[in-house]
Symmetry: C2
Subunit: 309 residues, 2 copies
Amino acid sequence: MSILVVGTVALDTVQTPFGKVKNALGGSASYSALSASFFSKVKLSSIVGSDFPQEFITLFQRRGIDTEGLDIKKGKTFRWSGFYSYDLNTAQTLKTELNLLSHFNPDISGDYQDAKFVLLANISPHVQLEVIRQLKGPRLIVCDTMNYWIEHEQKPLKQVIKKSDILILNNSEARELTQESNLIKAGKALLALGVRLVIVKKGEYGCSLFSRGSSFSIPAYLLENVLDPTGAGDTFAGGFLGYLAACPKITESSFKAAIVIGTIMSSYVVEDFSLNRLNKLKKEDIRNRFEAFQRMTNFSNRINLRMRV
Amino acid sequence: MSILVVGTVALDTVQTPFGKVKNALGGSASYSALSASFFSKVKLSSIVGSDFPQEFITLFQRRGIDTEGLDIKKGKTFRWSGFYSYDLNTAQTLKTELNLLSHFNPDISGDYQDAKFVLLANISPHVQLEVIRQLKGPRLIVCDTMNYWIEHEQKPLKQVIKKSDILILNNSEARELTQESNLIKAGKALLALGVRLVIVKKGEYGCSLFSRGSSFSIPAYLLENVLDPTGAGDTFAGGFLGYLAACPKITESSFKAAIVIGTIMSSYVVEDFSLNRLNKLKKEDIRNRFEAFQRMTNFSNRINLRMRV
């Protein structure tokens, strides 16, 4: 099954204690689309300017990503500039230049409109709503977001959530949106907004999946060398839905495996700047780390509890 | 196999947003011993004063804990008073009265001396060293500690670690002791201090186990209602070693199961103040939560990676 990914495509300037890149490929849709492309055919919808390098479009196309929905307008591409200190968990934004992004009016037509699996990557909830309005019978809508929209556009964001099946956000966003410090209570409050599943990401501590009546948690894949955490969440979301869309049948096990896949994909993306690591990734890399992650997290269910009481 | 638990026995006064207790049973050895007693026979070594309530000694004895090594001296028991705000991760100490604890000189003699499994629960490293000196051929020594000893008694603490097999500490302590922010690097630096295994606890985010060349991580058991986090780490350590000592053979799987048991026991202890919840715990409770934890964390190893690349 192919999936539709709508979000931002950006030129990022990023500095971390381990290096710097200037005008590198970035944006929520870029990370999500590239990550998903390892599992499903991806249709990309976003906007860039005439300054957007052809090599990045070629990069998408080499991964089989349909770029027909990448609107190339006269003007400047969305640019983001930020840095990370040794605490790699939080980005400090230096500059955000929306440029053409502020005029993005997604045109979901043709075979884009029939997409069954839709990832609304992090972008204005107004754009996300506009995409949902144009879809014809989607099977599964996944919505990602960020603290900015929770703080400035909470009303349309809640409409997006209500119309989505799965919500992905991080623990501080979950707490901020629900005003609940306890994660189970926050999960319940998010489900009450109208989604079937909530995925709460906890950065270097893994993630939890909440549905009505149950939860599932995995740790992160521990890494010794993280160069640039930009796009980790977008890559998670892309891997998650890309894997899910490729499942012949979607069961509870598929959701569990899909968050593991999301974890693996994001563990790779942070090993280098921009999309450099994902772009070089091989099938064997994913399989090897998936299997390593199993060994590093699963424990036997044949344990004997020898209890004195 | 029986285990020897050496640490503090205290009278705790604790306030959290959910209630308060005054002069309740506390201390590292109390939590560790009670937790371990569900799996192994426990010999307790600590010191209390003539003000220590008989009912607490009876509580230990009802759980089959050998209190012969609980030195009852004329004077006052060690007292700790603290509170937690809604961020239940960090205790604010209001008052610490060492009292008789400052004169504790453990006498490990008789059948205490032959203990094969030893838990050096959180207490001064000088006391821990004195215990190690008196042991006759221990099979496995587990050492727990806290930030205070890292800051004020790092030299003797490192001697304790060098003489131990397993070190248990939390992530901020691991980072403080090694001056490494990355957890894998911190784990390696701790192993280099001379232990075979390092367990890093991450509070509500679970824990990781490091040995030379491999690591293993589990999330925490998510709880909706935490009343009092006091003693969670001590309860983890007690459950961990209590379970391990009951294994007919100690393998890699035993260590994995033991940190799950530690997680389960600490998930129970925080559901009420002091040792109230552990004291009422049933065999079935442990088994049920162990099985629930498996469902909430293990994913299938029969996943098919349907990859396009």
